[in-house]
């Protein structure tokens, strides 16, 4: 037995050393706390929800937010600065989103805020057709989107596991050190390393994100869209697609729990279904269920074919729309 363990130990030693090293290097900034997460020299993608959560913890001690924008990365088009115009000056807004956010993720966040004595005076909930049918966070079990145990029902082990796995990916590690040493993005690095001369700007006090792409479009919109179209991202939409999202009791239950939080905090809320390039319209039955629970004055469906989804200029690519669209939506939903 001793011999077996000795052999195993020697064999595993390099592996343990590597794991210890990646924890120390902390590529994704999850093993330690940081003053600033989105530093200027950052070139890897971080887990957005985790950074939101860490910054919310900080803000709770400084200037406790009471108004929240929830949603997926598409919700980042909505700026707290713009939304603040529709709130009272005393309200403090915070963007508490997550990659691939689902309705259950929003529910978890409300529970977290409730547990931690946040007031929930205003909510702007921005979700997409494709993610409205997710009643668990299983689709978010990878490093970029995995939810922290303080927010979800994931264990710490569930949470750290994908970061360790991702940090051990040789292609990522090689790309990381190559870029760190030479500062040059090479083709093989792909999505692992951010490749843009227009980096994003982050306001960590409210998790407001400003994409560098806006600056790029501002500088030369024709070149930007010409290049994007050339990649084939903006596919032909002539064939109409339909949403298969069905209402199920679990979803209804989750919506009702969300509603009960809104009632508890007398929250003023708006529910926006994002305009998407695919122009898939939200299932009517689903929409009427949302309206039945949240009220027709609070639910705004911008899915399907409309003024926002028709123009390419409203999108960076097929998944994310631009802030001017969000500003227009805010205007419509609050002035109605």
């Amino acid at each position: 037995m001793k011999r077996f363990f000795k052999k195993l130990g020697w064999f595993a030693l390099p592996c343990f050393a590597i794991v210890a090293l990646v924890i120390c290097l902390d590529f994704f900034k999850v093993f330690s706390d940081y003053e600033e997460y989105y530093s200027d020299d950052l070139f890897v993608s971080l887990n957005r929800e985790y950074i939101c959560f860490k910054n919310l913890e900080k803000q709770a001690k400084l200037n406790k937010p009471d108004s929240f924008v929830f949603g997926s990365s598409r919700s980042q088009a909505f700026k707290c600065k713009d939304w603040q115009g529709y709130l009272t000056p005393l309200n403090r807004s915070f963007h508490f989103d997550a990659g691939n956010e689902a309705i259950v993720g929003v529910l978890y966040k409300l529970k977290y805020l409730d547990r931690n004595d946040f007031k929930i005076n205003n909510v702007l909930l921005v979700l997409d057709v494709g993610l409205l049918n997710q009643t668990s966070l299983k689709h978010r079990n990878y490093s970029l989107n995995i939810s922290h145990p303080e927010i979800s029902d994931n264990s710490y082990y569930d949470f750290y596991k994908p970061f360790i796995t991702a940090s051990l990916n040789p292609k990522f590690v090689f790309s990381y050190f190559d870029f760190r040493t030479f500062g040059k993005h090479r083709k093989y690095m792909g999505q692992y390393i951010a490749n843009t001369k227009y980096p994003m700007i982050m306001d960590e006090s409210n998790m407001e994100i400003y994409y560098g792409k806006d600056l790029e479009i501002e500088n030369d919109s024709i070149e930007f869209y010409k290049r994007t179209i050339k990649t084939g991202i903006f596919y032909d939409r002539s064939e109409k697609q339909y949403d298969s999202t069905e209402v199920n009791p679990e979803m209804v239950n989750q919506f009702q729990q969300i509603k009960s939080f809104f009632e508890k905090y007398k929250t003023s809320y708006k529910f926006v279904v994002s305009p998407m390039y695919d122009q898939i319209e939200l299932n009517k039955k689903y929409l009427s269920q949302l309206i039945k629970i949240f009220g027709k004055d609070n639910v705004f469906d911008y899915s399907g074919e409309n003024q926002f989804t028709n123009s390419l200029g409203n999108f960076y690519e097929i998944s994310h729309y631009r802030p001017h669209v969000a500003r227009q939506i805010l205007k419509e939903i609050y002035n109605n």
């Binding site: 037995m1 011999r3 077996f4 052999k7 195993l8 064999f11 390099p14 592996c15 079990n141 990878y142 082990y157 596991k161 796995t165 051990l168 990916n169 040789p170 292609k171």
Partner: protein
């Protein structure tokens, strides 16, 4: 719990340490630990279905005891049928209820009668086909007086639920596995090292080979209507390696894990894609199931002893039942029937036991004749896998008809085609490893006799790195669904 998960990576050392340190030399306690660990392992997926395993265990244990005391042949038969009815009843309800109901309704509709029946939303308990067959083998062997029924309930519970092979085999015989629970187990260094090596190779097959092949096979099968015959052939080839890597990988991990605890499980795969005819293929593929059907179905039906029609009937029965065992879909039945069609000529001409040795047994490379035989068998197998993988018969026939059209001579074109071609060298390396290891239990077996230490460690770490590289998402093992 999946073998290719970090959950299992924590679970296994904990059980191992408790087994060899806390409960060392305490046979009963070791068996109890295995039983508890197995229930935790299974309950990790869905604890509600533990009651099924427990019930099956209780029924077969009790019937075993009753069979021991009973000499009246009729009563013994009744006891046996109760066990079979309970086990097949579970299997029938969870796995086949909706299939039979839907086909029953379709049949009536075909004859102009409209009847109503509601399909149930039934969750198929993981591994139900495996553990029900294992417990049935116990009762049948006791009934046949090949095995003395156990009086040790803990050992029997551990035998039925033994976690390394609980959810996807090998389907163990009570005559092989159960006696191992009665004997004191000593830690054996060489066996443990061989076990670790087999686990490593099994993980490589699953995480690197099967999961990557799955990605491309899924792309191609899911968009088969838009693809050419050449692309569909590549899809079928990817699925061929996917299913082998997936299932034999699971078996390797199971056998390797069992070795760590001092158990020897039966061999389940013996390099089936190097077979020279279909009969040899079936002696090398999912051996534990093939031999189960042989011993408990084919031989009782008369085997190949009867006349021509008896041989044909029995061959079709065993292959069709085997297909149906895999899933409640006509595609599996056709897959089984197709294999029967492949097998029959060999059986009828008495050539089904021609190739009992390993291909190129004494040499490095096969002869031209062997190359031709292996490629022909492989081609037939690939064709049959199309039915196994397809969603429906229409889907399968669509793929087959496209493959036998002129589009097979076009350049393959499918989503992620370039990625798929980049992956192929790794697939070739895998096949070479399998070829050089074909005389052993698994490709890396007894590697210490073949390679020097630095080369061995280079191989181990390369495998480890490739496993870590490809271990993005934990994928279910295909055979869990069966």
């Amino acid at each position: 719990m999946l073998f290719n998960s970090l959950d299992f990576a924590l679970f296994l050392p904990i059980v191992f340490l408790l087994y060899w340190f806390v409960f060392k030399n305490k046979l009963k306690a070791q068996n109890a630990l295995i039983a508890i660990a197995s229930y935790v392992f299974y309950g990790w997926w869905d604890w509600r279905f533990l009651s099924l395993i427990l019930f099956s265990t209780l029924v077969d244990y009790t019937i075993g005891r009753l069979l021991l005391k009973e000499n009246d042949q009729l009563k013994r038969k009744v006891f046996l049928w109760i066990s079979i009815a309970v086990n097949l009843g579970f299997l029938g309800f969870f796995k086949y209820y909706n299939f039979f109901l839907d086909n029953f309704i379709d049949a009536f509709t075909f004859f102009g009668y409209s009847i109503k029946g509601n399909s149930l939303n039934i969750i198929l308990p993981v591994g139900i086909s495996f553990y029900t067959f294992q417990t049935m083998s116990y009762t049948i062997d006791v009934y046949r007086k090949k095995l003395t029924p156990t009086t040790d309930f803990v050992a029997f519970t551990a035998f039925v639920s033994f976690f390394p092979q609980l959810v996807a085999g090998p389907i163990e015989r009570a005559t092989n596995l159960l006696p191992q629970f009665y004997k004191n187990r000593e830690f054996n260094y060489s066996q443990a090292i061989e076990g670790m090596r087999q686990i490593l190779w099994g993980l490589f097959k699953k995480v690197v080979i099967a999961d990557n092949c799955a990605e491309y096979a899924n792309i191609i099968f899911n968009s088969s209507e838009d693809l050419s015959g050449s692309s569909l052939i590549i899809g079928a080839l990817f699925f061929t390696f996917q299913i082998y890597g997936d299932f034999s990988g699971y078996s390797d991990i199971a056998i390797g894990t069992a070795r760590l605890f001092g158990f020897n499980l039966m061999k389940n795969f013996a390099f089936p894609y190097f077979s020279r005819d279909i009969a040899e293929f079936w002696r090398r593929w999912h051996i534990s199931l093939s031999t189960w059907f042989r011993d408990y179905l084919y031989i009782p039906l008369g085997g190949s002893r009867g006349g021509l029609w008896m041989k044909i009937r029995n061959t079709f029965i065993i292959f069709i039942v085997s297909g149906f065992w895999h899933g409640a879909n006509w595609t599996f039945i056709v897959w089984g029937a197709l294999n029967a069609v492949y097998f029959l000529p060999l059986l009828l001409r008495g050539n089904n036991r021609n190739n009992l040795n390993v291909v190129a047994e004494n040499g490095l490379l096969p002869s031209l004749k062997e190359v031709f035989q292996v490629l022909t068998t492989f081609g037939l197998t690939v064709l049959a896998w199309i039915f196994f993988r397809a969603d429906s018969m229409t889907h399968a026939l669509g793929i087959v008809s496209e493959i036998f059209s002129s589009s097979t001579f076009s350049i393959p074109d499918f989503d992620k085609r370039h990625m798929a071609f980049y992956f192929m060298p790794l697939l070739i390396v895998f096949v070479l490893f399998e070829w050089f290891g074909r005389r052993e239990d698994f490709a890396l077996s007894k590697i210490e006799n073949k390679w020097k230490k630095p080369i061995r460690y280079f191989i181990y770490y390369s495998i480890l790195i490739s496993i870590v590289t490809y271990a993005g998402q934990e994928q279910q093992f295909i055979y869990f669904q069966f």
